[in-house]
Symmetry: D2
Amino acid sequence: MSTISFPTGRKFDFTAIGRLCIDLNANEINRPMEQTMTFTKYVGGSPANIAIGMSRLGNKTAFIGKIADDQMGRFIQSYLENEGIDTSNVVTDKTGAVTGLAFTEIKSPSECSILMYRDNVADLLLHPLEVNEALIADSKALLISGTALASSPSREAVLLSLDYARKHGTTVIFDIDYRPYTWVSPEETAVYYNLAAEKSDIIIGTREEFDSMERFENNVEHSDRYTATKWFDYSAKIVIIKHGKGGSIAYTPDGSEHRAKSYPAKVVKTFGAGDSYAAGFIYGIMSGLTLEKSMEFGSAAACIVISSHSCSDAMPTVEQVKDYIERCNRGEITAN
Amino acid sequence: MSTISFPTGRKFDFTAIGRLCIDLNANEINRPMEQTMTFTKYVGGSPANIAIGMSRLGNKTAFIGKIADDQMGRFIQSYLENEGIDTSNVVTDKTGAVTGLAFTEIKSPSECSILMYRDNVADLLLHPLEVNEALIADSKALLISGTALASSPSREAVLLSLDYARKHGTTVIFDIDYRPYTWVSPEETAVYYNLAAEKSDIIIGTREEFDSMERFENNVEHSDRYTATKWFDYSAKIVIIKHGKGGSIAYTPDGSEHRAKSYPAKVVKTFGAGDSYAAGFIYGIMSGLTLEKSMEFGSAAACIVISSHSCSDAMPTVEQVKDYIERCNRGEITAN
Amino acid sequence: MSTISFPTGRKFDFTAIGRLCIDLNANEINRPMEQTMTFTKYVGGSPANIAIGMSRLGNKTAFIGKIADDQMGRFIQSYLENEGIDTSNVVTDKTGAVTGLAFTEIKSPSECSILMYRDNVADLLLHPLEVNEALIADSKALLISGTALASSPSREAVLLSLDYARKHGTTVIFDIDYRPYTWVSPEETAVYYNLAAEKSDIIIGTREEFDSMERFENNVEHSDRYTATKWFDYSAKIVIIKHGKGGSIAYTPDGSEHRAKSYPAKVVKTFGAGDSYAAGFIYGIMSGLTLEKSMEFGSAAACIVISSHSCSDAMPTVEQVKDYIERCNRGEITAN
Amino acid sequence: MSTISFPTGRKFDFTAIGRLCIDLNANEINRPMEQTMTFTKYVGGSPANIAIGMSRLGNKTAFIGKIADDQMGRFIQSYLENEGIDTSNVVTDKTGAVTGLAFTEIKSPSECSILMYRDNVADLLLHPLEVNEALIADSKALLISGTALASSPSREAVLLSLDYARKHGTTVIFDIDYRPYTWVSPEETAVYYNLAAEKSDIIIGTREEFDSMERFENNVEHSDRYTATKWFDYSAKIVIIKHGKGGSIAYTPDGSEHRAKSYPAKVVKTFGAGDSYAAGFIYGIMSGLTLEKSMEFGSAAACIVISSHSCSDAMPTVEQVKDYIERCNRGEITAN
């Protein structure tokens, strides 16, 4: 019935590989960042957020990544550990690299932007020799974040982790997570995103992110079905294409489309929507929910995160998501 | 009587060239930065602090520098302008460089450290062609900050500004400001610091900073007099060597040493002491005070800054410095 | 009967992608290069040599590559054109890159070494957007040279050319051509060599080159069969593992091994042996010869090249190879 | 009487610092390099040529430089030693840098060009710590070649060698030797050329080279006198400005100009003219010849070099120069 199955008898439900960084969220919001005087520090980075979300949702979770040898790096490590996430494969850089930063600017709930510090960041220095094959072999699922493909040696570490996952039957989830400023050229992006997608079981991205993969294709009409069908010729079992307010569509190899209803939210900012959606959705399919129910669970988790100030820190528990869905169903929550 | 004179009939009393960056000061202090959750944003960078200090002390002040084309850069520019500082020669980078950051950690008043972000920073991209010769020709004094010599093209911009200053008789003040992490090697530092010092009228630095200039010398006893005498063979009129709590000594070509008394302070952190001292001292000598009185004025200005949370924002006015000195003289202020 | 077939109805028999450079061969040989005073210039680079060899053997041949905008680049282009090779996809660099150089040192027939100039070379600047999909679609076979995977953007250009070849049913031949000095790390090499091999129909390399691909495997006994079997799980139809004087072994998916007899030669130097072998072998299988006969043809071609001073310039015609084989069979040629 | 004196009682008459590289001169000349098939190897690099010239002219000569750890580097070292040049301060690189190359193209005696290989060259890696102060202290003259200022750490090594020379009273000769392709920007060139010229006793360059130093000046008429006068305000005793076929002019602080007659030559190529002129001229003034006689001696030395195939290898002895002058005076040599 379910379109995808996960291996059993493994120590970890979920392992993520990629970026670990710091969000510095504006405390004084609804104004340009020039006028923000204080910032609050959170753990950030898409795969970090998803891992924190998965752990909050009760999954045994591990992380493969690299942190700077400084106060920011140590804060990240201890935060993950406090969340119950295994950090045995979180390596500390020794070259003087720094922790990536994201200063958030919230001009209004719909006008959010990020000022990134991505030069000489530790997360992109993860080396293939630092990826623990045994950890991947002992995980039900491996989540790969596209930004970790942006430069060497992290790029090769991720490509190797894909091979380890396939060798050991670990389900691969590819979250495209396209950040143009971290890439040398759109052509380079397309080449590596395609290489990763070829070896992935579940691919999640926005329409724009899938477009970035199709630079050498002829999908002139940006057809979701064209996009999804290509990957079913490789390894994919589920392809989810997100259309923002238009909702998400999940494609499966049997040719069917799956849509979920969405929930209202009092939006503070849009950051973190994708990461909380991914955590909720993956929790759903790993728990045996239908695709539609998994997507709904993801949507509700996203609503909770975008209604609060942080991303990682606001990741909900199962009870919080269920409660949110019930309150929506009772009409207690309306959009702003 | 005074050992140094300044040109007259110029539009600006004081122009600084070099680093413009952002300080992110820990709000929760007296703990490791790992445990700091919020930070407050200030304009930072040694020459920026000195320029702000000089403007607060009533001098017509200008700045030569380069800022990132982002919210941080725009904040710096508007802050300087609000302080009355001329920013016509503050250039905006167009290459995607970022604003340098300094996260401050205050474990205790005497244990302070800084976590720097200095990769791909806009300030080091100031190009020789962007230095306005006319501005230097119309300034009584030009302050050169040593960190701006750390890499090209800022290095060449500063070396050129020195030539412009000497060509037009503008007094050159060289604040050594040695930050090892911004340099490729101690030998490179020594070479460029010597080139700058050769063309400077006033040289200010700590004993350790002068040591960094003497890598190819034989001053094995770290003699202040040896250090000062060397520069009197070039252009120097005043050489100030700072010994932290041991106080500062000013040397002059006539062979005399000048010392000032110091003042007590309720120290919050040590950051900014050197910059406020420099502003106070330069104000003094430009105002016709004796060397000793100028040094005292600098010391009192420094006390005010280290007693407060920020560097730039805490720079005092003349009245505040005078008031501080009087209160010290009345015994109203004691050290912590 | 044959283990591999090639598409028909295409304009080109053979297209190679990758390195185009210059060999500077010592004229005074059998001595250290320090004592060599004059050098002769030849077109070089493994895929260039193979393409020249294929053209000499009567195949319609094209090249995809990038040359410097200088005298060396223009010499390469005109040499290829004089050999009848299509250079419509040989792009000229406009960034000031140089032509790769290889100075050869021949101390004795068995002690040969190369002094390489590979900094800022034009061939590694081939960009994905410069690869002509139509040319690949109109070729029976595409030869990929491993060295072109050594850095970006050439790496991505080659990976994209692989996708074009598979999309259009063009047979992919992967010549490993491992040159350690062009790579950042052995791990990076292994990752990209595996990605290329997964999509190749024919893989050719020495035992040491296959070892370099197996850095993350457990082939502790360096078993050829282990090596070959892995690739039959992907796309490979023929895997050739070369053992120097021990001869070459071709593996096929049916589990069989194929060996060819070798021929004697009066060796001048060992350079070019692999390239001429590859050209001879590919000619053979494309002409319908058996694997064994193709390997023999390759061996004889190699003997001709290592008996002469150059690599590219010495590539033989079909008649010359046949003549060499007959003379060997008549006992007219003996080893030195 | 002479405008310049040299220290006495020193072990070396002449020490040069800077580039050591390889010239690969076309054997088949009077054609584009595309049609040249063989090249002959010589030691090259302006300061190397001058040092070889000085040694041939009977001066005790030493070199400060860095060579690659390869056959080219070893050839250079042994060639210098065979010429009697002290190489105790010629350091061997250990980072894998290469030897700079210059392929010469001689289309006609007046159309000569060079194809340079200057990426990752050993000579520009000379580090300040590798400069032997004692050697400079024991030399009568130090020649600085401008190209060695083109990048770090060679730039700092040269700037430090200047300080050593001034500290020990060693006469500094600055040969501008401007090669635009080795520099990041013309502004950077101007900054460092000025810094070197300020500390030099003798400055030699073409009008175009002096123009490159005056980028931030107002010498709109390219006046030689303006140029020379500037440097007499610093340390210069002789400024020679070369005007190609128009001859050279030497300026001295007393305001006088000095010109020498020129000699005819059967020109093969123009390369090496400046280096042999410099060697001849420096020999002259160090031997007590008048400025005019020294310039004549330089001109005749240059004629000899441009009449032959190489630069370094053709540097003449005193007898050869005198003989050439006599033959010219007897009308035995005419121009081509």
